[in-house]
């Protein structure tokens, strides 16, 4: 390695800061949307009626089965222009990341919901709770506690995958790392910097989830 040039990083810091804002924005928006969509798809996939469940199964198969990069490009060049009249890399990025992660999150929710003992649903049913109320107040709180570790996996993947939005020129962290690499023909400075930023972001989210886990474990 030739000598590491900190001055280059300092020069690029303003761009990286801008990039962090975008990356965090992408991540938070997509985590929120992806979790909501994922829950709905999990519920859809568990419908007892096979025909009603089929489209949800197809959704999961398709979004897990194809590359996120392709999904981003198709949504950016195909879906978003159709709806908004023109491409918008921010909207397309968030949409693609949410839809993609929701397929994975759906399976995680499904595993947690199925792990809650049947007796819980039966007790709620005899108390007159509707299936929705049972899900919301009884099953989900217990399921979420179980699935926090794999949810953490998914959120972390999502943060890192947000770097793919650079391909549609969304100015997030990786976009600027690539720009810096292109400008100076240096590999280490830009990619170590962006790597460090992702590491900090993912460690933050996993420590948040760990503390939620600890809090929930108290009534075990």
């Amino acid at each position: 390695m030739t000598s590491f040039n900190f001055q280059l990083i300092i020069d690029y810091l303003p761009y990286f800061f801008k990039g962090i804002i975008y990356t965090i924005g992408f991540s938070i928006a997509s985590i929120a949307l992806g979790t909501v969509f994922g829950l709905l798809i999990a519920l859809g996939k568990m419908l007892p009626n096979k025909f009603l469940a089929a489209p949800f199964k197809g959704y999961v198969g398709l979004f897990r089965g194809t590359p996120l990069l392709v999904q981003i490009l198709v949504i950016n060049f195909g879906v978003v222009p159709l709806v908004l009249g023109k491409s918008n890399s921010i909207v397309a990025g968030i949409l693609a990341l949410s839809l993609n992660s929701s397929a994975y999150i759906a399976e995680i929710f499904r595993s947690g919901i199925q792990a809650v003992s049947e007796g819980q649903g039966e007790a709620a049913a005899t108390l007159g709770l509707s299936p929705n109320q049972t899900m919301l107040h009884i099953i989900l709180p217990q399921a979420v506690k179980i699935i926090l570790p794999p949810l953490g996996n998914e959120f972390i993947s999502l943060i890192k995958d947000s770097s793919l939005a650079s391909v549609i020129s969304a100015p997030e962290v990786t976009y600027w790392a690539q720009a810096m690499n292109a400008q100076y023909y240096r590999v280490w400075e830009p990619y170590l910097t962006s790597g460090l930023i992702y590491l900090i972001l993912t460690l933050s989210i996993s420590s948040i989830l760990h503390s939620v886990e600890r809090r929930l474990a108290v009534n075990d």
Partner: protein, 241 residues
């Protein structure tokens, strides 16, 4: 109040309930006794619509309970059940376990629901455990919370599946007291129990089940003192020593 007609229940190939017929009128207290595996729990679960019968009908207040019934939930709220295995909600405190359904289903004011819950907790001797989580309760304490939770919905019909089996004798007496009080107040109940003395005092009808059949049905005095069928006689001989 409730009428069961030609009820049959199969798990796979094994027929657990065979042509069950009986009626429970308002203010009735019906006790079901019988050996282990005879189908008592399964029958209660069918009445509570936790299992779908393989064939046969159940009528609640002369309305047939069908699978598709949109009002099933509403119906279920009028029908309390205390389980053999408690099934408390581990994510909620004792108080929240009790107030959840009244608030959500009956739309009762939270303050009112809490008051009622505290009254019921005192009734089952657990006034000081309102804020505890189920995991920290002893077996007997859990069962008492489960009873209080069911009572909080003030249901028209209560189903008890061996509600005192996890309780110590001291507590059994107190819980049976509560149930007796409910019976006197006119609550309709179906109780699976092995407390023969209690059955005799509180019930106006006893069903004896064996092998998925209702073998014999009578008033408690008649059934306990003059059982007709050989199987009933054998069972009671062992039990009443």
């Amino acid at each position: 109040m409730i009428r069961v007609e030609h009820l049959q229940k199969k798990f796979g190939n094994s027929e657990v309930l065979k042509d069950i017929n009986f009626k429970v009128d308002e203010n009735d207290v019906v006790v079901i006794i019988g050996p282990s595996g005879s189908g008592k729990s399964t029958l209660l679960r069918c009445v509570a619509k936790l299992e779908n019968a393989t064939s046969g009908d159940i009528f609640f207040n002369d309305t047939k309970m069908t699978e598709e019934d949109h009002k099933l939930c509403e119906l279920k709220g009028k029908l309390g059940m205390v389980f053999q295995h408690f099934n408390l909600f581990p994510n909620l405190t004792v108080l929240q376990n009790i107030t959840l359904a009244p608030i959500l289903v009956k739309k009762i004011e939270k303050k009112e629901a809490v008051e009622d819950a505290k009254y019921l907790l005192d009734l089952v001797g657990l006034g000081e455990k309102a804020g505890a989580y189920p995991h920290s309760l002893s077996g007997g304490q859990k069962q008492r919370v489960a009873i209080a939770r069911s009572l909080a919905m003030h249901p028209q019909l209560m189903l008890f599946d061996e509600p005192t089996s996890a309780l110590d004798p001291e507590m059994v007496g107190e819980v049976l007291q509560v149930m007796k009080k409910l019976a006197n107040e006119g609550m309709t109940m179906i109780i699976v129990t092995h407390e023969m003395g209690f059955a005799r005092q509180v019930s106006n009808r006893v069903l004896f089940m064996d092998g998925g059949h209702i073998v014999e049905e009578n008033t408690p005095d008649e059934l306990f003192d003059h059982p007709i069928h050989q199987r009933t006689q054998d069972f009671l001989a062992k039990v009443l020593v």
